[in-house]
Structures are given as C-alpha cells and as structure tokens.
C-alpha cells in the first residue's frame, strides 16, 4: 500500500518510524509547508518525494492511505481533501473540534467507502489492552467506574503551549491547550463505559501569568455502562498518565507514560491472608515493570507511543485484509460527542 504523510513535525516521526516497520507499506511522499522540513524528513527517512502542497502530492503520489499529522485546526480540511482523492485517512487527534465537521468527515468517508481513523493510540497501549482482556474474560467483572488522569507540565518554561511569541495552534480550541489531551481522556473512558449521558466539568486557571485559558480540568461523566472521572493537571507532580478501571471483581490500574499494570483483587481464603497475597503480588508486578521499563528505555523503541504503532499496524492489516478497522466510525462519533460535552459551557459546575 502507498502511504503519504501531511505535516512533518514531532508526531510525524513516530508515524514514519512505524510505517518503516510494516511490511507491504511504502511511504511514497511527505508534505510540509516548510520546504526545508519536508525535504529533510524525506532525506532522513528515505522517502521518495517531498512536497509543500498537499493537493499536488495527492495528485502525483495517488496514495492509498494519507496520514494527517498537522496542527489540529487544519485536520478537517486536509482529511476532506484526502478522502476526496480516494484515500483512507489516519488523522491525529483531535480530528476536529466542531461536531458538524466530525459528522461531515464520517459521512464523506462512508460515502466513499474509505476508512477514517482518529488516533486514539493509548487504547492500544499494552496495559490498556491487558485491562480490556480482563474485562472480556470476566475476571474484572462489570465495569463500575473508570478514572483517567493526565498530569503534564504544559505551563513549564519552554513548553510550546506557553510560547508568547507564536500562539500554539491548540490555544484556538475550546478549552485551549487542554483540549489537545481531551481525546485521550474521552477515548479511554468511552472504551470502558460507553457513550456518555451527562457530564459535569470544572475548568480552572491556576497560573495567572500564562497565555493558557485553563491549566486544570476535572470532569465527572455518567455513561451507558458506568461512570468516569477524568482529569488533567498542569501542576500535579510527578507527570503521569493514569488509568484505573474499577470492576465488580477487581480493580486494575496502569500508568501509560511509564507503563505498568497493577491488579487489586482478593482471592479466596481468610481476608488478612488474601490482602497480604494481593499486596505482595502488586509489589512484584511494579518491581518487574520498573526494571522492564528501565531496560526498554535504554534499548530504545516507541516507548509511550507503543499504542500508536499497534494502532497503525492493525489499521494497515485491516485495510489489506478488508476486515473491520481497529477504530470504528461510531466510536469516533461518540468520543467526539463526549469531547464536545467536556468543553461545553452548559456542563460546567
């Protein structure tokens, strides 16, 4: 399959590295508004052609798949152009921040029988997949609540989000820079508790002297199969991407930045013994995962982007074999509905 990429920034390098590892996939073009960036990316990764005009690339390369890895405000237009050119499209999150644009894209993809994927990469990180296995096998029981918490210092000096000379493209999104993280929170919550029914949010600007409209966010979500508590913090330390799924039989929790999974369950036997066994098992898992992560960092590899690699590999497998893609149109619609609800003024406390 022939793939091309529009937007050669930081995340594009992960897409390219993954594409190079896939069999039967050739990256035949890369496009960026900057000639130097487009050319250097093509030079570095041995891509056959580089462009500064995406329409010229679509016409010349005639790709099967287009990866859109530009800043969010351009996603809709570029994805529409790619669909119009007859390509399947993989778009970085957020696919759009306007609900009508999301439905327009999904409709266009459906009409042309093309696959449209929004990058919910953390759904495919190994600890999240393991939690889903526990849910499917029944070990977790029924999901009661899911908690997803991201803590990233986006207000730190040098952070592109607080660059006072060139406003970050995400600042134009509802919710500002935090909106860039909402698809991660929403897609993870949605995957365990389904589409939302009601949402209540709290947005806060803790650091007064910052170009960000908000730097803290909390949300409580009532959904079809349970509840969710979502949070983003610019100030809590250490930085973490935490998910905890509470089931009727066990709790499973994982850090996705420094991946490890701990399962909290009480087996049979006297409660004190069961507790002791459970805590010792958790300690062993954390210890082993810590060594594994340390060695993994030394050895290189995708790290926290492991899920992106898995998502892309499964997407191309699906496209080649004609089976269902790993992310469905309905999922994209429901996740974006939740994102819209999280940013809506009427849902604030």
């Amino acid at each position: 399959m022939k793939a091309v990429l529009i937007g050669a920034g930081q995340i594009a390098q992960q897409h390219i590295a993954c594409l190079r590892s896939l069999t039967g996939v050739a990256l035949v073009g890369v496009c960026d508004l900057s000639r130097g960036v487009a050319e250097s990316t093509a030079d570095r990764f041995g891509v056959g052609a580089w462009f500064t005009d995406h329409l010229a690339m679509l016409a010349e390369a005639r790709p099967d798949v287009v990866h859109v890895t530009t800043p969010p405000p351009s996603h809709f237009r570029l994805a529409m152009d790619a669909l119009a050119a007859g390509a399947h499209v993989i778009v970085e999150k957020p696919i759009s921040t306007v609900p009508t644009e999301v439905s327009t894209l999904l409709h266009a993809a459906s009409e042309r029988r093309r696959v449209l994927i929004e990058d919910y990469n953390y759904l495919f990180n190994p600890p999240v997949e393991r939690i889903r296995d526990l849910e499917r096998s029944g070990d977790l029981g029924e999901v009661v609540n899911v908690e997803v918490a991201i803590s990233v210092d986006i207000v730190a000096q040098g952070s592109p989000f607080v660059d006072r000379d060139l406003a970050h493209p995400c600042l134009s999104l509802p919710g500002g820079a935090i909106a860039d993280f909402l698809p991660h929170l929403a897609s993870l919550a949605h995957s365990f508790v389904g589409p939302h029914r009601t949402v209540r949010t709290h947005w806060q600007k803790r650091l007064g002297d910052s170009p960000l409209p908000y730097d803290e966010f909390r949300a409580v979500v009532a959904a079809e199969h349970g509840t969710a508590y979502l949070s983003f913090s610019s100030h809590a330390r250490p930085e973490i991407f935490w998910i905890q799924v509470d089931g009727t039989r066990m709790r499973a929790a994982a850090d996705l930045f420094d991946p490890y999974l701990v399962v909290n369950r009480l087996d049979g036997g006297p409660r004190p013994i069961a507790l002791l066994r459970d805590r010792l098992r958790q300690a062993r898992h954390v210890r082993l995962a810590s060594w594994h992560n340390f060695l993994h960092k030394l050895a290189g590899g995708p790290g926290a982007y492991q899920g992106l690699w898995t998502l892309l590999a499964r997407t191309y497998e699906a496209l080649q074999s004609g089976v269902e893609p790993p992310i469905s149109a309905r999922q994209i619609a429901e996740v974006n509905n939740l994102v819209a609800a999280l940013t809506a003024q009427e849902n604030r406390f």
Partner: protein, 354 residues
C-alpha cells in the same frame, strides 16, 4: 550601511550589534515580542523591530531600507522538531520576506558543527568535507546544516550575495565554559584530549569578524571558519576558568582516543543488542564526541588571506575581557555612544599589541 540583525538579543547577536555600531553602521535589531531587552543600553543607536521569525507575514517591513542582513538567530536547545521549526522554518520565513525587499546581501552565522568531523584528519579548513551521516549527529548540527542549505539555495535562486561564517566554540564574559573544553560531572570536569587545541573564538573577536565580513566586499561568495587560533589547550582554558572564577572542581584528563574507544564500544553494543535504537548520551556516540573534542588543527588562514582579518584581541585580552568586570567589557553588550568610543579605544590599543 543599514544592517538588520536577527538573534539580536542573543549572546553573539548583542556583541555583533556593538561591533557593527562601532564601525558606524545603523542597526535594526530583530527581537522576539516577548523578549525583554533594555533598549536604552544602545542609547537610541539601534532601532528595535519586534517580530518572531516563525510568524508568517510579520517580517517584510523589517527589511525596509536594509542593505545587509546579519542572520544570527538559531535555537540551540530543545527537541529536533523545535530546533527545525525555529532555525530552519524561521530562516525560510525570514528569507521569504527578504525576497520581497531590495536587500541583496546576507551574512549567515553557521557553525563548525556542519563539518564531517569523523572523516577529517589533521587540519579542519573551509574545504573540509561536510557531514554525510547527518542524522546520527545532534539536533543542533542537523538544524544548522539544513539552515545553511536553505540559505544557500535561496541565495542562488535570488542571486543574493552571501557570506557564511562558521564560528567554533564561542566564549567570553558570562560564557566562560563552552561545551568544547570539557564535560562537567558534579565537582569533576573531564577534559577529553587535554592537550588538544579546541576551536575557540572569543565573542568579541567573533563579532568583529562578522562586522568585517559584512562590510568587506571580498567576503562575498565565501565561507569562513571563525576561530581565534590562539593555540591554547583545553587543559589551560579550564585551568584559567578555575583560577579566575574561584570555582571549586577538579580537572580529570581523559585521553581522547580512550574516550573514542569507549564511545565506539558503546555504539557496537548498541548495534549488537538494540539494533542501534538505544538512546545514548552524546559522549557515547562517536560522531558527536568527535564533533566536540576531536583534536584537529583549525586554520585562520582564509580569513587572513581573503579579508586581511585577524582577531583583534589576543588570548590575554580575551581572558581579561571574560573574567574582569570593567566599563570596557560592559560596553560590548550595552553600547552607549560614549561606551562605544571606549571600546574603540580598547580595541585599537589591543590591535596595536597584536
């Protein structure tokens, strides 16, 4: 001449403005909107133009009535994409604006990091090969190489007069410990190849070289390496640093070839065990270690032969300017007209001694 200086709030940029004012030119300093700078330091001799190189459309008025562009701006830290955005995309935006103006002369601050240090033996000159295995080098080398490529291509397309200056390690007041003289590890300072002569250029010498290249018509079409050629070892640079700052620490001599052997072994293990994917520190990547510490010789001959330029400050004066607080030093970064006159006197007297 009317001179537009980018990176004007940076370390080299501030000194270049002082050197340019000293030669009687009119300066427009391009400074980011959020960068605080004491404009009074220039005594009204500099016009400040606030803009960010990455912002499209904001730069065209900066070239109004400008005869020559001194392009110094570049990012020296951050991720590769951040450095590419600032250094390469910023340069593209700047030159797109220049293409809409009458300005036809540009002096670019490049870097010795663009050379292929692994392949070079003996003396590094302007004819030495450039890096061919670029993407094993650090982000700075990658961004500076592409910046130079972008500038050369644009100059060719628009028939602009270009001079490229490639400074070595820039040192001076407030920057007495550049990366080329050692690696600090707590109280310990590793000096790789302690008797090698690193390619140092004192910031005032370097700034004077830029001013000379800007106004000397013989510089057009040439590339020059900018080093002082003082023949001073890394060991001595660091010794002077300890002695004159009173900083506590110990110098540890590390034979260069031993360090290179260690880096080569680390690279071999990385390839063998991790398919080359392990993220090693720069000192354990041979080409990066070489670009910092390889004991080459560095010639100042081309600057002398083509421009007749020699560094105005000898090593003793460089040390004095770096470590001794005085009005003469201050004026190089905050040049009021009276101070500019003082600098001229200082430089004239030091030139006569060299």
């Amino acid at each position: 001449m009317n001179v537009l200086v980018t990176g004007a709030a940076g370390y080299l940029g501030r000194h270049i403005i002082a050197a340019t004012l000293k030669r009687g030119h009119r300066v427009r300093a391009l400074i980011r909107p959020s960068t605080w700078i004491d404009e009074a330091r220039w005594g009204g001799a500099v016009e400040v133009f606030r803009a960010d190189l990455r912002a499209p459309g904001a730069l065209t008025p900066a070239f109004d009535q400008v005869d020559v562009l001194l392009h110094i701006a570049a990012r020296v830290d951050g991720s590769e994409s951040a450095q590419m955005a600032d250094t390469v995309v910023g340069t593209e935006r700047l030159l797109e604006a220049m293409a809409k103006s009458a300005t036809r002369r540009i002096v670019l601050a490049s870097s010795l990091s663009v050379y292929g240090w692994t392949a070079i033996r003996g003396t590094l000159t302007e004819d030495s090969p450039l890096e061919t295995d670029l993407y094993r080098r650090d982000c700075y080398a990658i961004a500076k190489t592409w910046q130079e490529r972008v500038v050369r291509r644009m100059c060719q397309e628009h028939d602009w007069a270009l001079t490229v200056l490639r400074p070595g390690f820039i040192w001076g007041r407030d920057r007495a410990y550049p990366a080329g003289i050692g690696q600090k590890l707590g109280r310990w300072h590793l000096v790789f190849g302690p008797w090698s002569r690193p390619p140092m250029t004192h910031v005032e010498n370097c700034a004077d070289c830029f001013a000379e290249a800007m106004e000397n018509p013989r510089a057009v079409g040439h590339t020059f390496n900018v080093v002082d050629g003082h023949d001073i070892s890394s060991w001595r640079y660091l010794g002077e640093y300890f002695r004159r700052t009173g900083a506590a620490g110990h110098r540890i001599p590390v034979p260069y070839h031993m360090a290179l052997a260690g880096a080569t072994l680390a690279e071999w293990i990385n390839r063998w065990l991790c398919q080359g994917r392990a993220r090693l520190p720069g000192l354990l990547i041979p080409c990066r270690l070489q670009a910092r510490f390889k004991p080459l010789r560095f010639s100042t001959r081309k600057l002398d032969e083509v421009l007749g330029w020699r560094p105005p400050l000898d090593f003793a004066h460089c040390l004095q300017r770096t470590y001794t607080a005085s009005a003469a030093q201050q004026c190089c970064t905050s040049a009021t007209p009276e101070q500019v006159q003082q600098v001229q006197e200082c430089l004239t007297s030091s030139q006569s001694r060299t």
